[in-house]
């Protein structure tokens, strides 16, 4: 048996490794430089990182001392990782539906990667109290009221549904 902490390290290494690879490939797509395989690498690595993300989140919650979320860093990690996962899902679906890998597509991919790497950096600060992200306001959590979150969920579902319907036309 291994502890939740070790399992979290494994899941995090997988996630961050693949997201970092994807970020480099998206950068090459943005610059239109490098091998022709850059688009495939960017999207497949993003998919791999995305698949490992839930494991990283849940093992991280299990590995955290105490019960529940008792630190603003953990709350911000949660928000950043889900935002990053949302962008990554959008990028992958858009590409699957035939979207072109233009500069905006590549930029959004890089933003998704940057958010996930920031999340990992905050994890290092939480566990070891060391970070390079000195100027990121990590101790402040911007939390919407529940009604606003529900409204945003409805908005997101409508946008996804609209995109799916338009794609069928």
């Amino acid at each position: 048996m291994i502890s939740s902490g070790t399992l979290h390290v494994i899941a995090t290494e997988l996630t961050i490794g693949m997201f970092a690879l994807s970020g480099i490939a998206f950068l090459l797509c943005l610059l239109k430089k490098g091998p022709l395989s850059r688009e495939a690498v960017a999207h497949w690595a993003l998919l791999g990182g995305l698949m490992a993300t839930p494991f990283a989140i849940f093992t991280g919650l299990n590995a955290a001392p105490g019960e529940g979320i008792e630190n603003p860093l953990l709350a911000n990690k949660m928000l950043l990782s889900t935002a990053s996962a949302g962008l990554a899902i959008g990028i992958l679906i858009r590409r699957k539906w035939g979207g072109d890998v233009d500069s905006r597509h590549a930029s959004i991919g890089m933003i998704s990667v940057a958010l996930m790497l920031t999340t990992a950096g905050m994890g290092g600060e939480y566990s070891r109290n060391e970070t390079l992200l000195y100027f990121v306001p990590k101790e402040t959590v911007f939390l919407f009221p529940i009604w606003a979150s529900i409204l945003l969920i409805v908005l997101g579902v409508v946008m996804l549904g609209k995109s799916a319907v338009e794609h069928r036309r």
Partner: protein, 370 residues
């Protein structure tokens, strides 16, 4: 060029240090001696600590009752953060060495927790002695027991993790005399409280006629009355520790408990977790939706399944006959990419690659990059 790069990498690998302790520590926990989990490398690569380590036990230790021990770390220089990891263990083997394996229970560790390994920041130096108190519950079976104090810390110059362990200290745990006034075996003290909250502590005792509580704040000791087995410790204004002990009298010899430490701390950070989870889901859906909504425009969009043009322009009977030809024509015209060079496709290129990346290749040729 490759040889130079390989040489530089090789020199960088050679310049790395063998091991170093985690400079910020790993946090208090229930840990075995095998470096107490605080080092990156194997304990076999550590240095040997020069600290003089000792454990002081009270004269009488009764089975199953609470008692206080003092651990001392003397004469050692540590790393610049002045932190040392300190563990109480029952053997020096590095395995099955937790106090709980012999029936000891850590009631209050020096940091106010219940761990056998704690990280202490203090003025460790070759001239100083750093002492800490632990409150333990003795094993329930009388007999002779072994105890060790182990430490790990950094070195003043960094680079090497140091570890050390004390000599064996043997203690005798005696059977509890009849009618001995004592705290109930299943009673445990409160270790922490929030600032501004007064603390009501309920004592559970056996063979006790009366109890008196002494409260120590700094060097001042005051008495607190116990009513119906309860007493109240006034609220703390600043973070810190107050100590208290109870003097139990009854038919048997009067007993004085160890000093219990009550740590006052600021209230923990709280968040509405339902709102947080809902916002996380909202962010995921919203971000995905926003990206997907950004539809491809014009000819960039590959209408993989859109055959409307062919259906509307061709007669039904010829449509079936020409279907294969149409698909081939469509591929070769609408998505054909830029015109092929006079020499045909560049070496190693496929037609599909030329459709997507041909223009980029021609641009590079024009700029002289290829």
């Amino acid at each position: 060029m490759r040889v130079k790069a390989a040489t530089i990498l090789f020199l960088m690998i050679l310049s790395s240090t063998i091991s170093t302790a985690n400079p910020g520590g790993e946090g208090d926990a229930v840990r075995s001696r095998d470096c107490a989990g605080s080092c990156h490398a194997s304990s076999s690569t550590n240095g040997v600590s020069s600290a003089t380590l000792s454990i002081d036990f009270p004269d009488e230790i009764y089975a199953g009752l609470l008692m206080e021990i003092q651990t001392s770390v003397e004469g050692v220089d540590v790393s610049s953060n002045s932190m040392t990891g300190m563990a109480i263990l029952i053997n020096s083997d590095g395995a099955k060495d937790l106090p709980a394996n012999d029936g000891w229970e850590v009631i209050t560790d020096p940091n106010g927790g219940t761990n056998n390994y704690v990280e202490i920041t203090d003025s460790f130096s070759s001239q100083n002695v750093v002492t800490r108190s632990w409150t333990l519950r003795a094993p329930s079976n009388p007999g002779m027991y072994d105890m060790f104090l182990a430490v790990q810390h950094g070195s003043p110059n960094g680079g090497v993790a140091m570890s050390g362990i004390s000599n064996l200290t043997q203690v005798e745990v005696s059977a509890v005399p009849e009618n001995l006034p004592q705290l109930a075996p299943d009673w445990t003290p409160t270790n922490t409280r929030n600032l501004g909250d007064e603390t009501i502590i309920k004592l559970e005792t056996l063979n006790t006629d009366s109890a008196t509580v002494e409260l120590k704040i700094g060097a001042e000791i005051s008495e607190i009355s116990v009513v119906d087995g309860k007493f109240t410790i006034p609220p703390a204004v600043n973070p810190g520790v107050v100590e208290w002990r109870v003097i139990l009298t009854g038919e048997g010899p009067t007993q004085t408990s160890p000093w219990f430490r009550l740590t006052a701390q600021e209230a923990g950070w709280e968040i509405d977790e339902t709102a947080l989870y809902l916002q996380s889901i909202a962010l995921l859906l919203l971000c995905a939706g926003l990206v997907i909504l950004r539809r491809p425009v014009g000819e960039d969009y590959n209408k993989n399944y859109d055959n409307t043009d062919y259906i509307s322009t061709e007669p039904e009977e010829t449509q079936m006959m020409n279907q294969t030809l149409t698909v081939a024509t469509q591929e070769s015209t609408s998505n054909a990419g830029p015109p092929l060079p006079p020499d045909g496709l560049p070496g190693g290129w496929t037609t599909e690659q030329w459709q997507y990346y041909g223009q980029e290749h021609l641009d590079k040729l024009a700029r002289g990059e290829i």
